[in-house]
Amino acid sequence: MEPIILVHGGAGNIVSSRIPLKFDGTQRSVEAGYKILQNGGSALDAVEAAVRVMEDDEGFNAGYGSVLNLDGEVEMDASVMVGADLSAGAVTVVKDIAHPISLARLVMERTPHVLLAGDGANRFAKEQGIVRLAEGSLVSPYARLTLEEFKKQQSTGTEIKNPGEVG
């Protein structure tokens, strides 16, 4: 079988200044995953590696650079699934974790559950030796600016435009 890896970096109205970031990041993500496949690695390892690249990249809405909730915090979700046996793992509303996708994989591999949420997910991460980042470490300047603009539009009653991705 010829290995293939396919990635996306989010859908929506992508502002032109962000397009080069998207091209660069998705290509680096693909290369990280493909390298694993090329060396005989598994599809699971490849998708995890590919997503981790984009979680580290401020140009994407995941990990560092995630959009902010109304309190100005990063709260992240991630999930992973293996086609061989339909095993799956996910996390939701996790904070201060650099790679939620790897935490989702640990939920799949080391718990009897599919989805862990909030404080429970963060506690599980700690038990697994995943370092909790300092509060606010994943907040990027662009994400802060976007939230400020959103709140300004809300307070003036102007029509709220989505400045970026829809999700």
Binding site: I19, Q27, F60, M76, G83, A84, A90, V166
Partner: protein, 141 residues
């Protein structure tokens, strides 16, 4: 949101999706990305999907699973299943989304009803990528 689907040399499939959600969301809001069958799905007998877009709509439509079932029962190609299911979701729920799909035979499906979606894939020495509708660049690597 970001996502990846892959098939390895043994024909095994996997899918992964990760997100910060929606800007200005309520504290404690969970998205489709954390829900198996909505943001992510993989089955070696059919294919693998990762989605992005309006999370509440994707969750209500069980988008990733719907694409897989269009391939399984509708005998659609990865591309047709992805695009047709996305169009059906947007028609029904009036919100946009995108998805990437790989079939068990390595067919690629890329679709979005939003203005754009960044995507890229590698097969042999070709890197394919794009963002806008109809855009499909190829470069040798």
């Amino acid at each position: 949101t970001v996502g990846a689907v892959a098939i390895d040399k043994n024909g095994k499939l996997a899918a992964a999706t990760s997100t910060g959600g929606y800007f200005g969301k309520m504290v404690g809001r969970s998205s489709d990305t954390s829900l198996i069958g909505c943001g992510t799905y993989a089955d070696d007998n059919i294919g693998a999907v990762s989605t992005t877009g309006h999370g509440e709509s994707i969750a209500k439509y069980c988008l990733a699973h719907a694409i897989i079932k269009a391939m399984e029962y509708g005998h659609k190609s990865a591309s047709d299943a992805t695009n047709e299911t996305l169009n059906q979701m947007t028609l029904k729920l009036k919100h946009t989304a995108g998805a990437i799909t790989l079939s068990k035979t390595g067919e690629v499906g890329i679709g979005f009803t939003s203005e754009g979606m960044s995507w890229a894939y590698r097969k042999k020495s070709e890197l394919h990528y794009g963002i806008e509708k109809g855009q499909h660049e190829i470069k040798q690597v």
